[in-house]
């Protein structure tokens, strides 16, 4: 097994894998059946929305229940722009920028107030957004909503509509995912992680939590706007119901199901958002709520870290079967993971003793999961 892992790590093998994925993405829409193309396009839309939510919540730890509001605004801007015959590139830029600016303004005020305020403000966005959309009917078409037909395939491509739409979604989604991956892998990502870990530590290191929370929130709303644009590419119709509060809660659930704070997790989250209802429709369409509740709880029960932690869990279980040690208790692996993520910075206590003691960085007094919990479950 170790040889294979080595093999995979080689640079040129990784390039071949990337090449294969690209080839697949280019050719797949041509050969897949229509409904699969349409489903994949919808998964792209909501994967981008979940990615945006991850930037502000998964990576920076700020609770946001308002992501669907930015998707809705992006969709409305697109619908208005298309119906007003603006150039499609201009429409795309506005669909991203306007929600981004709204997000910036809101976070400038809310970020100063700390966690609860941001959660409350983001809950308010979709709830106030729906009646506001009905009221501004000259822009939004009011409660009838507005449709914008602009994503049918142009003749020179010789493609069917579903293929053309899927290509647009794949292209934009790939770019957004790559840019975000570089963002969170770079210094911004590390800053977000520290702000998520402990704001007091962040400020003691010269990282202003306020600035990074505003940045994360703005990027999330910008990505939300892009998801709104893609929503219009796929659905070509939007109404106040698009930004209803219930969807925000489902987006949050999808983020956690996919795997919070992970790029691949966002993709899996988008897939869950779209496929879960289709799965429950196939089983029994009058039991949607019961089945979705069961699916959600089942996944979280088996994989608290979300679908993205499946390979890690599978590897750990195979490794720990090797020499029968106590299965890595939550504390073991989690604190190990925590140590690698949060760089070793936390001075053990405000006043470090002068005693000749090697100042081992004890993590800030954690609320350690009691091994006793595990003991009780075993006895």
């Amino acid at each position: 097994m170790a040889a294979a892992a080595g093999f995979l790590a080689k640079p040129w093998v990784r390039w071949v894998a990337v090449l294969l994925v690209v080839v697949l993405l280019v050719v797949a829409p041509l050969i897949f059946p229509i409904f699969l193309n349409q489903t994949l396009a919808r998964i792209g839309v909501f994967a981008v929305a979940v990615l945006g939510l991850n930037v502000v919540m998964g990576y920076t730890g700020q609770v946001s229940l308002g992501q669907i509001f930015f998707v809705g605004v992006g969709a409305y801007v697109t619908a208005y722009g298309v119906n007003a015959d603006w150039n499609i590139a201009l429409v795309f830029i506005l669909a991203a920028l306007i929600p981004g600016v709204i997000g910036l303004l809101i976070s400038l005020a809310a970020a100063r107030l700390g966690g609860l305020a941001i959660a409350m403000v983001t809950i308010a966005l979709p709830i106030i957004g729906v009646p506001l959309a009905k009221r501004l009917s000259e822009f939004t078409g009011g409660s009838q909503g507005s449709s914008a037909r602009f994503s049918s395939a142009p003749d020179w491509t010789g493609l069917a509509d579903d293929q053309w739409q899927l290509y647009i979604v794949i292209a934009i989604t790939a770019v957004v995912f790559l840019l975000t991956r570089n963002l969170v892998r770079g210094k911004y990502g590390r800053a977000f992680a520290i702000v998520k870990g402990n704001e007091a530590v962040a400020s003691s290191m010269g990282i202003s939590p306020y600035r990074y929370k505003v940045l994360a929130f703005t990027i999330a709303s910008l990505i939300g706007g892009i998801s709104g644009f893609l929503y219009m590419v796929v659905v070509q119709y939007t109404s106040p119901e698009t930004m209803s509060f219930g969807h925000s809660i489902t987006l949050l659930a999808s983020m956690v199901i996919g795997g919070a704070g992970s790029i691949l997790g966002s993709l899996l989250g988008g897939a869950y958002y779209v496929l879960a209802p289709q799965l429950t429709n196939a089983i029994d369409s009058s039991l949607t709520a019961v089945l979705q509740g069961i699916i959600l709880l089942a996944i979280l029960f088996v994989l608290p870290g979300g679908l993205v932690s499946l390979p890690r869990l599978w590897r750990r279980r195979r490794k720990s079967d090797g020499h029968g040690g106590a299965p890595a208790g939550g504390a073991g692996s989690r604190s190990a993971a925590a140590a690698t993520v949060a760089p070793d910075v936390s001075p053990s206590a405000a006043s470090v003793t002068a005693a000749p003691v090697a100042a081992t960085p004890t993590p800030p007094e954690p609320n350690p999961p009691t091994q006793s919990e595990e003991k009780r479950q075993d006895t």
């Binding site: 720990s320 504390a331 073991g332 206590a349 405000a350 003793t353 003691v357 081992t360 954690p366 595990e374």
Partner: protein, 236 residues
């Protein structure tokens, strides 16, 4: 008469073995120290006793086997564990912290008089009686942790590095108060401490742990001078 006896106690954190056969005894009313460098397994030994980590080997208290017992059951037997990091109940006031300590006791008058005794033992806590645990300084939180343990009227107190993160003068005050507590209450104590000098002000005998095993055991006097102690600290 032995109150607590550990024989060949082992413990794991996941695949990592931390204790590899630790043995010690604490006589009724006695005080024993556990010394050693970082990672020697001092804290894990206390955790094995109080049931917060799974352990092998045998642990008996007052003749009864308590290995594998749930922490609250171990506490009910009369063992009070003052944890590393002090376990302060940050959302509760100082008085409420103390009343939580006396959760298992029914004697209302006894509880009130013990609260007064604790406030006398730790004067700093008296003015801070109303403030919340989170607002206390490191030293005050350590005093509160010891006071909370006293409130449960234990027969044995496990003290985990009471001096950690305290200014030397504060650490000395805490230990003086604990010394007075030991003289007046006769509670047996098992003291884990990095600062050997502070420990010797309290304990009669001590054992030095090295990579999860007893390297050396002896009375405070014997251990004080020996270079074993220095080697155990500075590493081989």
């Amino acid at each position: 008469m032995t109150l607590l006896e550990l024989t060949d106690v082992t413990a794991f954190y996941g695949p990592v073995q931390v204790l590899d056969g630790v043995s010690l005894t604490v006589p009724d009313g006695g005080a024993v120290g556990i010394l050693g460098a970082n990672g020697a397994g001092k804290t894990t030994t206390l955790r094995a006793i109080s049931g917060t980590v799974r352990a092998g080997g045998s642990i008996t208290f007052d003749g009864k086997d308590i290995r594998g017992m749930r922490p609250d059951k171990v506490a009910a037997m009369g063992i009070a564990h003052v944890p590393e990091g002090r376990g302060t109940l940050s959302d509760l006031t100082v008085r409420e912290n103390l009343r939580v300590g006396a959760y298992l006791r029914k004697d209302r008058k006894g509880i009130e008089s013990d609260i007064d005794y604790c406030l006398d033992l730790f004067p700093n806590l008296k003015e801070r009686i109303r403030s919340h645990g989170s607002a206390l300084s490191g030293g005050e939180q350590q005093m509160l942790a010891v006071a909370r343990a006293v409130m449960s009227k234990p027969r044995l107190m496990l003290l985990d590095e009471a001096s950690l993160g305290l200014a030397p003068s504060t650490a000395k005050n805490v230990y003086q108060a604990i010394g007075r507590l030991r003289r007046e209450s006769g509670i047996a104590m098992l003291v884990v401490e990095q600062n050997a000098n502070l420990a010797f002000t309290l304990v009669d005998t001590a054992t030095v742990l090295e990579t999860g095993r007893n390297a050396l055991t002896g009375t405070s006097a014997e251990l004080k001078g020996m270079d074993e102690i220095r080697r155990a600290y500075l590493g081989g």
